[in-house]
């Protein structure tokens, strides 16, 4: 008897079933758990109140990122500088106390390896193909770039994983997103994922796990795949998967927490089996032609509100769905934009290059390539480059990227979530506009009243030097790497 062909998702799911109930709910084993300061204090408090222990502390890794200021953390005398906001300080201190009390491995705020939780997981080799990985953060989907079934969970689930190393879950539906061909000049993985979200809608992936397939993704770097998988949740999908391949193995080999020696060989042999079988069925398939994707920008307050940079702000009347018409009108009012305005005429006052979506070395190199020899426009009040981790920052400095940014007028910061979510001092003031490499353009996301335009790192760099949303291709020479 031959086995039924299975998708990659089904293979990982099946390998993690501890128990299955008649109604289809499964107890799923969780191999890896990342913890940060924001979504964990109430989970630890819950354990304490119930007198419960952490079942497998060594399978969890904690790091602070959301609240941390991205300014200097250590003073001249080598001592930690205080966190000014008392509530941030309290939450960060709670994490330190909790990891000490429950014996959880911890990367401190001043460690060289500190960074955004979704940057350090892959970087440390904590994220591995075929594992189940969770974190109290919706951008956990990022880790799917390495072939991990990774998804965001709420704090009750954080507590559940800490106590039991499992979750009670129902299987998801599967969606194939197939993209073939080469991305055009000046077009990046960020533009591609924005195009995918525009196509399926912000709720299009609800109930699904996406598998990204096709030659465009095969050719894509691990950094690019991390950007794509990261934003799966902006299309509604809790997880996005890439089948692990030679690039994945090359990326992971030698990382501190990845297996080594004989264990490495054994794991790679297993990882090679983690591919969707010929003939396996997806519940839904979506296809895109890579050549049709342009450098893109969001105009509204949902990540599905995407247009090419050569386009104009759409007329709300142009949407077929009446609820989308209402939403678009509200978005334009919030964004201070009028239908018909060319996106490239929209001035910005802030530029943010960072976040778990676009803060990796490849992103910084690409942005620096645009910035090199140019200056930040006088109309820009704040231009931040925030590396995703201390190791990336160090690497960028070794390559001289920091000098390029600083000489152009950017601020070169310490790693953290920074201006992505208005939880630390990096914010966009009310009614001001930001070209941002982050993942969400929700109303208020970068600060109350702040107006966010999501773009790729090179598009953010282009906006910084011109002072308005700009088609980055005008600043590039054909044939140069993007």
């Amino acid at each position: 008897m031959t086995e039924r062909p299975r998708t990659l998702y089904e293979k990982i799911w099946d390998a993690h079933i501890v128990e299955q109930r008649p109604d289809g709910t499964c107890l799923i084993y969780i191999d890896r758990h990342l913890v940060h300061e924001v979504t964990s204090p109430q989970a630890f408090e819950g354990l304490r109140m119930a007198g419960r222990k952490v079942r497998r502390p060594e399978l969890t890794l904690a790091v602070p990122d959301h609240n941390l200021p991205t300014t200097r953390r250590v003073g001249e005398n080598g001592a930690r500088l205080p966190i000014v906001d008392p509530r941030s300080a309290e939450q960060l201190a709670a994490l330190e106390d909790n990891v000490a009390e429950f014996g959880i491995p911890y990367i401190t705020d001043i460690a060289a390896e500190q960074g955004i939780v979704h940057v350090i997981g892959p970087e440390q080799g904590f994220t591995l193909p075929g594992t189940t990985l969770v974190c109290g953060d919706s951008h956990t989907a990022a880790h799917g770039a390495l072939g991990a079934l990774a998804f965001g969970i709420g704090t009750s689930e954080v507590e559940h994983v800490l106590a039991t190393q499992t979750l009670q879950l129902k299987p998801s539906k599967t969606m194939e997103v197939r993209v073939e061909g080469k991305l055009g000049f000046g077009v990046t993985p960020k533009d591609l994922i924005l195009a995918i979200i525009a196509k399926i809608g912000a709720a299009g992936g609800t109930g699904y796990v996406i598998e990204y397939r096709g030659s465009t993704f095969d050719e894509m770097s691990i950094e690019g795949r991390l950007t794509v998988a990261n934003m799966s949740i902006e299309g509604g999908a809790r997880s996005g998967l890439f089948a692990p391949d030679e690039k994945t193995f090359a990326y992971l080999k030698g990382r501190p927490m990845a297996p080594s020696g004989e264990a490495w060989e054994r794991q790679v042999a297993y990882w090679r089996t983690l591919r969707t079988d010929e003939g396996a069925r997806f519940d839904r398939s979506v296809t895109l032609d890579a050549a049709e994707v342009a450098p893109s920008v969001t105009w509204g307050t949902s990540p599905e509100d995407v247009v090419p940079i050569t386009g104009v702000v759409p007329d709300p009347q142009s949407f077929a769905d009446p609820s989308k018409q209402t939403a678009a009108r509200k978005s334009l009012e919030y964004m201070g934009l009028e239908a018909g305005t060319a996106l490239s005429d929209v001035a910005v006052q802030h530029v943010f290059i960072g976040s778990c979506t676009n803060s990796r070395i490849e992103d910084l190199r690409a942005a620096a390539g645009i910035v090199r020899g140019r200056k930040v426009s006088p109309g820009i009040r704040q231009a931040l480059v925030v590396p995703g981790s201390g190791l990336i920052k160090h690497q960028a400095e070794a390559e001289g990227l920091d000098r390029i940014f600083i000489e152009a007028g950017f601020q070169w910061r310490e790693p953290g979530c920074s201006m992505c979510l208005a939880m630390n001092p990096d914010k966009v003031p009310p009614q001001e506009r930001c070209a941002s490499t982050s993942n969400r353009n929700f109303a208020g996301r970068q600060g109350p009243g702040a107006r966010t335009h999501l773009v790729s790192p090179i598009m953010a760099a282009a906006a910084a030097v011109t002072g308005h949303l700009t088609d980055v291709r005008e600043l590039m020479r054909e044939g140069e790497p993007a």
């Binding site: 501890v18 128990e19 109930r21 109604d23 709910t25 107890l27 084993y29 191999d31 924001v38 979504t39 204090p41 109430q42 408090e45 419960r52 079942r55 399978l59 609240n67 906001d85 509530r87 309290e90 939450q91 591995l128 109290g136 953060d137 919706s138 956990t140 965001g152 969970i153 709420g154 704090t155 009750s156 559940h160 106590a163 039991t164 499992t166 009670q168 129902k170 912000a202 709720a203 609800t206 109930g207 949740i233 509604g236 809790r238 054994r266 297993y270 949902s302 609820s323 209402t326 939403a327 509200k330 979510l421 208005a422 939880m423 969400r440 929700f442 109303a443 208020g444 996301r445 109350p448």
Partner: protein, 189 residues
């Protein structure tokens, strides 16, 4: 968790689609280390408008929200569910919910009721002047105007809600199976 069988009262006719978690509770308020006290910051941007629904005396304290597609999209912050609970909301009716939000809601005893857009449109009208009832026993949403909309709920979730079960305690009854799984798969140890 308190067992729930029926939610009855006025409903905020919000109606918007893609109500995201940043709209429900902005990140600034996630700095708390407690679950309580978030209600006063719920929907802060909407409540900056003096004519907003949430402070309208007709609806104040309503236990139900009626919304558009994709309610709770965005972040995994359970603070969104805690903020609703603290506001007094124990049921949300919408055509669709984000996966993470509906899980968080359920774990806090908030019922997420999926109805089609036509039913939502009707309830939006009814809610202007009348209370609504969400009944887990009969799996219906009803109004005093004889409206009756049936909904579906995952049987496991329904049982947990109606019995007020502690999911961790439930999972820990599978301790032997978890240990057996760990013994079988030492690959990551």
């Amino acid at each position: 968790m308190e067992p729930i069988t029926r939610i009855h009262g006025r409903a905020y006719p919000l109606g918007l689609k893609n109500v995201d978690t940043d709209a429900i509770i902005p990140a600034e308020y996630l700095k708390t280390i407690k679950r309580t006290g978030l209600g006063r910051h719920a929907f802060e941007a909407i409540r900056n408008d003096p004519a907003n629904l949430f402070d309208d005396p007709r609806f104040k304290g309503a236990p139900i929200i009626i919304a558009g597609d994709n309610f709770g999209c965005g972040s995994s912050r359970e603070h969104a569910a805690w903020a609703l609970l603290d506001l007094g909301v124990t049921a949300v009716i919408a055509p669709s919910f984000s996966d993470i939000f509906s899980g968080n809601a359920f774990k806090n005893g908030i019922v997420t009721v999926v109805l089609d857009q036509a039913a939502i449109d009707r309830l939006m009208e009814v809610a202007q002047d009348h209370p609504i009832t969400v009944d887990l026993e009969t799996m219906t949403v009803t109004s005093p105007l004889q409206d009756r909309f049936a909904f579906e709920l995952d049987p496991f979730r329904r049982e947990c809600l109606m019995q007020g079960l502690d999911e961790i305690a439930l999972t820990l009854t599978s301790e032997a199976a978890i240990s057996a799984y760990e013994t079988k798969t030492r690959s990551l140890g």
